[in-house]
Subunit: 138 residues, 2 copies
């Protein structure tokens, strides 16, 4: 198995609401309004939004109903950029579960939770490199 992730699918309760949230953050998709799955090209991978029940069935798992041990992160180039993305998420209807502040690992981050309960840490990590194309290297 190669060391890479091709796709992250987030299970959602209301696809139109979920799509509108990510679009309010500035993301764009070629999905038609009636499509039952919404794909966003996200750098060299893809983020998908799909009905949570369908995703559970397709994945062969039982739904615990809440958060299940996965957090995404979006790294940016400065503490000010962390603040800006957190404010964008707040304005778009996201819940800020941790306001931006300095972290124990020497960076600066905050966390927003999307309308379906999926948390995103928005982080400035001075120890990692963000390249021109948005890719991140340890």
């Amino acid at each position: 198995m190669e060391q890479r992730i091709s796709l992250v699918t987030l299970g959602v309760r209301d696809l139109a609401r979920a799509r509108a949230f990510y679009e309010a953050l500035g993301w764009s998709t070629g999905a038609a309004p009636a499509d039952d799955v919404v794909f966003f090209q996200a750098g060299g991978m893809i983020l998908a939004l799909w009905g949570r029940e369908e995703l559970a069935a397709d994945s062969g798992v039982s739904d615990g109903g809440g958060w299940g041990g996965v957090t995404l992160a979006h790294n940016v180039g400065s503490p000010a950029a962390v603040d800006a993305v957190i404010e964008q998420a707040r304005a778009g209807g996201g819940t800020i579960s941790r306001e931006p502040s300095e972290t124990f690992w020497g960076g600066y981050s905050g966390v927003f939770v999307d309308p379906d309960g999926h948390p995103w840490e928005v982080a400035h990590n001075p120890h990692w490199t963000i390249r021109e194309d948005g890719s991140v290297t340890l």
Copy 2:
């Protein structure tokens, strides 16, 4: 917010067991044995393993205790490659929650679940392009 994911963190109950599972799949990390977080460079992003309780607290969320609506996918170039990765996951102690077969969307895939309950679809999608560097485009 740029349209990209920098990091996916999987909350785990037993870090050594989780690390060993991904290493058995052929992944490698520069983490020291005593590190309390394990980072894997995964293409232009990073996969992290961290204690689930710590991740929930850091993300400002309550733990539902089970699966929480997130499934990862690993796309490969052929149905035979799907079978090979699924067999590798089975041999490494993963649970196969869906045996490989043709899918309703015209591809071929199976799903394994890692020791902490995180599902990975292993898929051949003839409609998507996998580049030389492993990146996937719609």
